[in-house]
């Protein structure tokens, strides 16, 4: 269970909202090409598994 964000503490709620925003800024970006190329390469290395 995720720890519940205290509804009684507006400061903590604001901080966690902003943490999510800086996290999502990166998490919502498409993966960089270098990384997708690496994944393709790794998939090819393991044929038939």
């Amino acid at each position: 269970m995720p720890p519940s964000t205290s509804k009684e503490d507006p400061v903590q709620r604001q901080i966690d909202e902003n943490l999510k925003r800086i996290f999502d800024e990166t998490a919502q970006e498409p993966l960089p090409e270098k990384l997708t190329a690496l994944l393709d390469q790794l998939r090819k290395q393991e044929p038939g598994r």
């Binding site: 503490d9 966690d16 902003n18 996290f23 998490a27 994944l39």
Partner: protein, 185 residues
């Protein structure tokens, strides 16, 4: 989940893994290098991963270990101790009650590593305290105190107090508070 291909599950976790890497490295290209290294390690060790256990915690742990061992090899980094950034970064939260994200990120980047990782795991990516403790190799209580200290420090750096938060959410309270301030001034 148990019969899903862990490789595909791993790929689905990469966006959040990148976000975690960003919070540790505070630098985009370093974060991407770190994710690349992590993917290579994880991929070649997937046979050691036990299906049905927590792939996300496993993956984040590999990234975290890679980050810290890589950094130990490099020069010792200066940790932000107390006092480096004691001032407030912004005057007040923005009018809509949201903090200015740039200020917030700057404040976040000043926190010590162990507080940043605890905050991102628990506060942003939805890890339970138990999962975060597993990922960081420490006790649940340690994670709790790191997130609490991190939140308190961010509140301090952003100049956030309970009063501010009340003001922003409740104009009536604001009126009462300002009236009180004038009366006592």
């Amino acid at each position: 989940m148990s019969d899903s291909d862990p490789r595909e599950e791993l790929v689905e976790l990469l966006p959040s893994l990148r976000a975690f890497a960003m919070s540790l490295t505070r630098n985009r290209s370093a974060a991407d290098d770190l994710v690349q290294d992590t993917v290579v390690k994880a991929w070649s060790n997937l046979d050691k991963f036990q299906t049905g256990t927590n792939l996300r915690a496993w993956l984040f742990t590999i990234l975290r270990n890679t980050f810290y061992s890589g950094r130990r090899k490099r020069a010792r980094e200066v940790e932000d101790g107390d006092g480096v950034l004691t001032g407030q970064l912004s005057e007040k939260p923005a009018h809509d009650g949201r903090l200015l994200l740039r200020d917030f990120r700057a404040a976040f980047d000043q926190l010590p590593d162990e507080q940043r990782e605890a905050l991102i795991l628990v506060g942003a990516s939805g890890f339970s305290y138990e999962e975060a403790a597993e990922t960081c190799g420490c006790a649940v209580g340690t994670i709790k105190s790191r997130t609490n200290r991190g939140r308190a420090r961010l509140a301090e750096l952003m100049g956030l107090t309970d009063d501010d938060a009340m003001e922003m959410t409740d104009p009536a309270t604001l009126a009462v508070i300002s009236a009180g301030r004038i009366a006592t001034a």
